[in-house]
């Protein structure tokens, strides 16, 4: 698989002069087509900042980000994004939310109708199209947000703690849902999470980030049999891998926070 998204030597600081704060220090990684990659790190390690730079919502202070060889200059529908906070438009129904991006792209009406139905189906909410966001549970809202991002036909799907606000059971079922979606559609995905288990369950490659300044300190390739996720969560091999990485994460925390 060719490299699709390339992040090279990206630095980002906020503020000017003596108050400038380095938030990302020389972050580099690649993402190949069809790959599922996760960034894990404690709060403040700059994960969301990386995501915003890739999405084009912010500009790096130095370094480059390219998508299919083209430098990222601003936001575009080739990089779909799902935020942690529910970001559905409350005045639109679920189906209208899914259609929203396609309407901005000025696709044909028929195209929009068909793709809306298709992606509602994909996220398992074919019957919920007429409901408003406030009538949907948190998990359903995030699934609609994912459907909305996918319907705009992005090359890469960026997920910034998409399940962070959900409670544990729904979170687990959403993880299984996302894994199934990835296998079914072959999408290229970048997931941000501070939950190591979530990263290991879903991603083929996990980069661990440390704060002050934010940087990648460790990368692991994860090869697991994910067909039975409930089983996997409890398997000794998985638990050992998780504990091993958790320890290295803990050793990275600044002394005062331990």
């Amino acid at each position: 698989m060719p490299i699709q998204l390339q992040v090279s030597n990206v630095c980002k600081s906020f503020g000017h002069g003596p108050q400038a704060k380095l938030v990302l220090d020389q972050v580099s990684f690649d993402l190949q087509g069809g790959q599922f990659l996760a960034l894990v790190g404690s709060s403040g390690s700059g994960k969301s900042t990386v995501m915003r730079l890739i999405a084009g919502l912010d500009r790096p202070s130095s370094g480059t980000i390219t998508l299919d060889g083209q430098a990222v200059r601003g936001p575009g529908f080739d990089r779909g994004m799902v935020f942690q906070k529910y970001s559905l438009y409350p005045w639109l129904t679920a189906a209208q939310n899914v259609a929203f991006g396609m309407e901005l792209q000025q696709r044909s009406r028929q195209d929009i109708r068909e793709r809306t139905a298709y992606f509602l189906e994909v996220v398992g909410l074919a019957d919920a199209g007429r409901l408003f966001p406030r009538e949907l549970s948190g998990g359903m809202q995030q699934r609609i947000a994912i459907a909305r991002a996918l319907a705009a036909e992005p090359k890469v799907l960026l997920l910034d703690e998409p399940f962070g606000a959900l409670d544990i059971q729904i979170r687990e079922s959403m993880q299984e849902f996302l894994h199934g979606l990835w296998r079914q559609t072959g999408l290229t995905a970048l997931l941000i999470t501070h939950d190591l288990e979530e990263a290991l369950l879903l991603a083929g490659q996990v980069h661990i980030m440390a704060p002050s300044p934010g940087r990648i300190v460790r990368s692991v390739t994860v090869e697991l049999d994910r067909r039975d996720m409930a089983q996997l969560r409890l398997s000794p091999l998985f638990l050992e891998l998780r504990e091993n990485l958790a320890q290295s994460l803990r050793s990275l925390e600044p002394a005062g926070r331990r």
Binding site: A55, P75, M81, S87, Y89, F100, L104, R148, A152, L158
Partner: protein, 259 residues
């Protein structure tokens, strides 16, 4: 026997029951006191007398003419204010530089009581319609603008940024994200500031006018017709209430998602 208390209980729970009750109690007290002869009729006309005066003004066509004159002024002045406040408030809410330029100025003018502009307006524009309409404009424009600006500033970033990652930019974000999000607050802003518009038109008419509900009140004062003053006050209150309810209705219909 079993049924009556249950029904009473149910109707008591209707949100309007107590409000109507409150009005009824006051009217009843008014009726009793004014008819008991304790208070001079000149100070407190009875409800019957006020009703008769109202009928009188209605059949002579005066009441309708006055009401239309006042409503027209409010409508023109407020339409100008609301129509101009919307784009300017949106621009101030989205553009930091324009906001920094205009906000202090507007915040300052907002605290100048609009009636204090009346002498100037009369010197500039005389006693015709223009100064009255402008008074309503001055008294509501700055509030409308600043409140709309605030509504725009509080549009959640996620909603705008989601649209940008879906390929949206510029005008479509304004019309498809910002506008629908602020619509309920804009309507509510208009509803609240409409009350001041309605106050100001009466003030302007008390000062100088040939017709209008405020003018009628000040004429009635000259002839010591307290019954007619009461008619004016009640009609003003009812029209204001009707406008308020109209806005609430519009908001419920157009922005059901926000409730």
């Amino acid at each position: 026997m079993q049924l009556a208390p249950a029904r009473l209980h149910r109707s008591l729970r209707h949100p309007w029951t107590l409000g109507v009750l409150g009005v009824a109690v006051v009217v009843l007290l008014w009726f009793l006191i004014s008819n008991s002869g304790v208070v001079d009729k000149l100070f407190l006309p009875s409800p019957q007398a006020v009703w008769a005066a109202g009928q009188n003004q209605w059949s002579s066509g005066l009441l309708l003419k006055d009401a239309i004159a006042s409503i027209q002024r409010v409508f023109i002045g407020f339409a100008m204010s609301a129509g101009l406040a919307l784009p300017i408030g949106i621009v101030m809410g989205t553009n930091v530089i324009i906001c920094r330029l205009l906000e202090p100025l507007m915040a300052l003018i907002r605290y100048m009581p609009a009636p204090a502009f009346i002498p100037l307006l009369i010197i500039y524009f005389g006693l015709e319609e223009l100064p009255k309409v402008l008074l309503i404009f001055i008294g509501t424009f700055f509030f409308n603008t600043l409140m709309i600006m605030d509504a725009v500033k509080f549009v959640p970033h996620e909603l705008v940024e989601t649209a940008r990652t879906l390929g949206g930019r510029g005008l479509p974000i304004l019309t498809r994200v910002v506008a629908p999000y602020i619509a309920p607050q804009v309507l509510d802003t208009y509803r609240i500031n409409m009350a001041s518009a309605w106050n100001l038109v009466i003030v302007a008419e008390l000062v100088a006018a040939s017709e209008g509900l405020g003018k009628r009140i000040s004429l009635s004062q000259r002839f010591l017709r307290t019954d007619e003053i009461f008619v004016g006050l009640i009609v003003i209150g009812l029209i204001g209430l009707a406008i308020d309810l109209g806005f609430r209705f519009l908001m419920r219909r157009a922005c059901s998602w926000a409730n």
